[in-house]
């Protein structure tokens, strides 16, 4: 017999193993051979976990011929050149005495890398000893590629949104400068920027839930929140997750309140004025309900506005509707107080 056609002892063992499966398990072996899910069995009694069975789908996934696989160490094969991380993960999974699933980057015979979700199960004999391991694979290459593509598109969309807002800012400033009072241009610009920064925050979290604290930080930083020389703000409350739309709405509300405070309220005179922001979430049968209070004090004497400006219209009218809650602004002489009551999903961390 030539060396090329000579079968190793391992391979012969493996083949006789499969033969014995076939006898005992007839239709199941046929099903395993034909399923489109890639599957292998390894001999768990050997520390190398040699492959004793591989179905056609596994051959298609990895690009190997069956005779190249049988008797070979499973972990070596799967992680050849895929980095020590993957090898360690697979080794740990194979050594373990429990079943597990993991995502690994593997290498095909031709060297191409692919992502797979691997599910490893234990096959026990009648005495309960682990005799074989059974692993099935789902090729995640397309899914990973799709995730990357979506991530890219989302980044592009965020980028375009910000560039469009920059263009809107540019058009507004070019159009209005010298035509209307400087304060009007500034107020418009500040609103566009507040909207853009809230969008930026949502972009960084992939338009997933955003924390109330981050939303507050983002909106109030231009007004001196977290400024170490400025202790005019206090913020109190356990962080809460907000839906993207709610976060945008609240960011605009905080911007309007702070702008108003800068013009007429607690932030208008450098010195004594302060703003305390506090909230609690209470459980209700319909889910969490947040009560948030913005309270100004120490500023000049407050007079209720004679006419509702954009800010108070936005806060009291639009926001109550968008937040599906209640928003009220009071103008006691000591300082403006704004109450918000709105539904929230869950505190951060839950």
């Amino acid at each position: 017999m030539s060396a090329i056609t000579m079968k190793s002892a391992d391979q012969k063992d493996a083949e006789s193993n499969v033969e014995s499966f076939r006898k005992e398990l007839g239709p199941f072996v046929a099903a395993t051979e034909m399923t489109s899910m890639a599957m292998v069995f390894t001999d768990a009694r050997d520390s190398d976990n040699p492959i004793i069975f591989a179905n056609d789908s596994f051959l298609a996934l990895t690009g190997y011929r069956r005779e190249e696989l049988l008797g070979k160490s499973f972990s070596f094969l799967m992680t050849r050149g895929a980095g020590p991380d993957a090898l360690a993960k697979v080794e740990a999974a194979l050594k373990g005495s429990s079943e597990c699933s993991l995502e690994v980057r593997c290498r095909r015979k031709d060297g191409e890398m692919f992502w797979a979700a691997a599910y490893i199960y234990l096959v026990r004999d009648e005495a309960g000893g682990v005799v074989q391991r059974f692993a099935s694979f789902v090729d995640l290459t397309d899914q990973k590629r799709e995730e990357d593509r979506l991530r890219f598109l989302l980044d592009e969309l965020n980028h375009r949104t910000q560039n469009t807002l920059a263009t809107v800012q540019a058009i507004a400033v070019q159009t209005l400068r010298g035509v209307v009072a400087r304060e009007v241009v500034d107020a418009f610009q500040a609103r566009i920027l507040a909207l853009s920064k809230a969008h930026g925050l949502l972009g960084r979290t992939n338009w997933d839930a955003v924390s109330l604290r981050d939303t507050l930080d983002q909106a109030l930083q231009p007004f001196g929140l977290n400024d170490k020389w400025d202790a005019r703000f206090t913020v109190q409350g356990d962080d809460v997750r907000l839906q993207p739309k709610t976060a945008l709405t609240l960011a605009m509300m905080f911007h309007e309140l702070a702008t108003n405070a800068t013009e007429y309220g607690a932030l208008s005179e450098s010195g004594e004025g302060r703003i305390d922001i506090a909230w609690q979430v209470e459980p209700t049968p319909q889910g969490g309900r947040m009560r948030l209070r913005w309270e100004e004090s120490g500023g000049p004497l407050v007079e209720p506005p004679r006419r509702k400006g954009f800010g108070s219209r936005l806060i009291e009218g639009g926001l109550a509707q968008e937040l599906d809650g209640e928003v009220r602004i009071d103008y006691p002489p000591d300082g403006v107080v704004c109450h918000v009551v709105m539904p929230v999903t869950a505190p951060v961390g839950e």
Binding site: D155, N158, H159, R160, T161, Q162, N163, L165, A166, T167, V168, Q169, A170, I171, V173, Q174, R177, Q189, A190, I192, L193, S196, K197, G200, G203, R204, Q218, Q221, P222
Partner: protein, 138 residues
């Protein structure tokens, strides 16, 4: 307007015409002398080779081309610059993430602060200075 920036020659690289006008006005308000604006990489490189530039504001995506070659040319000449972009910072190529970034759109005061930070004498570590400038756009 601001002492430190007054009379500084600032190269402006921006391919969006309307935004370029806005930034030109902002720079003028801050007392800077605008060099450019350049809308293309080659244009900017030609300006850097021919003219004296103290500082620069660089858009990253110039009609599909990145402005990293401009960043390299400025770095080679020791000209500090700030990126101005609608991209999140983590979308920058890895080698350029340490440079300060102004997230578009931004206010004139944010631009002023970022440019002033570029002019501050280098503290013990370059990283901290850049970190500081990068935090400016809030």
């Amino acid at each position: 307007m601001t002492g430190a920036l007054s009379g500084r020659r600032v190269l402006l690289v921006e391919d969006e015409m309307l935004v370029a006008w806005l930034l030109q006005d902002m720079l003028a308000d801050l007392g800077c002398a605008v060099v450019g604006p350049a809308a293309r990489v080659n244009q900017a490189l030609a300006i850097i080779a021919a003219e004296q530039v103290d500082l620069a504001v660089l858009d990253i995506n110039l009609n599909g081309q990145t402005s990293y070659a401009i960043a390299d040319a400025l770095t080679a000449r020791g000209v500090p610059f700030v990126f101005s972009t609608g991209y999140a910072k983590d979308r920058l190529a890895e080698d350029y993430r340490a440079f300060p970034v102004l997230q578009k759109p931004f206010h004139e005061s944010e631009l002023g602060r970022a440019l002033e930070t570029l002019l501050e004498p280098e503290p013990s570590s370059v990283g901290s200075r850049r970190e500081c400038a990068a935090e400016a756009p809030h």
